[in-house]
Amino acid sequence: MISTAFAPLAQIVSQGIGVPYLPILVVPHPVGDPSEAVVRKRGEDIAAECARVLTTPAETLVREFANKPFPLPHAVMPR
């Protein structure tokens, strides 16, 4: 799990360690500065997705996450 600003980094690290299909779940950026309540809400929002990934067969996850695009948010890198 990682924030949007660093999702492409997580993906290239997963490729570098030989698991390019690693399930990467993304939460809004940043997670360092917001209030505890906001961070808690983000955790609650992503909890169901975590459960889904943890209970989905690996071969399904490979198809879903191999080469999945993780575009940077516009606020991080305007185009």
């Binding site: 600003a5 660093f6 492409p8 980094l9 290239i12 690290v13 490729q15 570098g16 360690i17 940077l72 890198m77």
Partner: protein, 360 residues
């Protein structure tokens, strides 16, 4: 980076098409590249005939790409290097690959630094690496292309392109950042000799440095007063070295160096003076800037707001390079702090046994 180049382009617009192809795939730094044809790459490998093309020099994070001699040569061609520059590029990559350099986090950090290549030894004159006037600026092929080759290796083999490199702003040294020491104008031992190498050995020292900041002192010639100017420029709130030290760089102008030497100062005298005087009180530092560590000095009393915090843990941690043209200016290059340290590596030469690494 896999050598995925399926077609041979021979039309009149080949240069443009190759550049578009590379640019679209994120294989450039944004500037046009020299197409790495088989002939050019072979010629580049001729710069180090004692190395095999498939020899692995480093595994480059975060993608953990295999930097073989062949892949390094491809990027050196793209950067515009001459074959005789290749040993310097290889030594630079070996240096940033040492654990104390921390390349994995340097490739992905929000901090703005870039790998500065400092070259010492006879290789400087042989390759015409600028160590004098305008050494950080344009006009010198060796400076321009050696630094660029390292950058392309880090992007293309290491995977640290714009979407992965999280530098909040970066700085222009991320295109190229390569200088040499002006050893003939240095009244003391040059950097590589200070670090234990023979004077006639070619050496690169790599340090992840911010952009150079000019410290003008055109009036004072007394070493104590010059140190006062330097210390005030260096120990400024917000400079990472004040919070976690490391190996910041002083590029000492040749006139300033002359004033110190004329007054009988050694290089260590200068380093010690800046260690002692480039400081801020703990009371100012403790609740601002960045987190304190990982090499924060034990002698700073965190119960005493008046305890003084230095920008280095010990005098020799200040990397001093004598360089530049005429004038009353020296440059300060902060680094990210103690999590990334400078590393020196010998530049391989024909017929030479490979020397072991020397680090600081």
């Amino acid at each position: 980076m896999k050598p995925e180049f399926p077609q041979v382009v021979s039309s009149g617009d080949a240069f443009d098409r190759v550049n578009d192809y590379y640019y679209e795939r994120g294989w450039t730094d944004g500037l046009p590249i020299v197409p790495p044809t088989a002939e050019r790459v072979q010629s580049m490998l001729g710069g180090m005939p004692w190395r095999r093309a498939d020899e692995l020099i480093a595994t480059v994070p975060p993608k953990m790409g295999a930097a073989t001699m062949l892949q390094i040569a491809v990027n050196a061609v793209m950067a515009g290097c001459r074959p005789q520059y290749l040993p310097v590029v290889v030594a630079a990559l070996q240096a940033v690959s040492e654990p104390e350099y921390g390349l994995a986090h340097r490739q992905t950090t929000t901090h703005a630094a870039a790998p500065l290549i400092i070259v010492n030894g006879p290789v400087v004159g042989r390759l015409r690496i600028n160590c004098g006037r305008g050494l950080f600026g344009p006009g010198w092929r060796a400076n321009a292309t050696i630094g660029r080759a390292l950058r392309l290796v880090l992007v293309n083999i290491g995977g640290a392109g714009p979407s992965v490199d999280a530098a909040q702003t970066g700085h222009p040294g991320k295109y190229t950042y390569c200088i040499a020491e002006y050893e003939a104008a240095n009244p003391w031992e040059p950097l590589h000799v200070e670090r234990g190498f023979a004077r006639d050995q070619g050496v690169v020292t790599l340090v992840q440095a911010e952009a150079p900041h000019s410290m003008t002192e055109n009036i004072q010639t007394d070493p104590d007063e010059i140190v006062r100017t330097f210390a005030d420029s260096m120990a400024t709130l917000g400079v990472n070295n004040l919070y976690s030290q490391g190996h910041p760089v002083l590029v000492l102008g040749i006139e300033h160096a002359g004033f110190f030497a004329a007054a009988g100062w050694t290089k260590l005298d200068l380093q010690t003076a800046l260690f002692e005087r480039a400081r801020q009180p703990w009371g100012l530092v403790k609740n601002r800037g960045k987190s304190k560590g990982p090499r924060f000095p034990d002698f700073v009393d965190r119960n005493d707001d008046n305890s003084m915090v230095p920008i280095i843990r010990e005098p020799r941690d200040l990397v001093v390079v004598v360089a530049g043209g005429a004038g009353g200016k020296s440059m300060f290059l902060p680094t990210a702090g103690g999590q990334t340290l400078s590393v020196s590596k010998p530049v391989e030469e024909p017929g030479e046994s490979r020397k072991s690494k020397v680090e600081r």
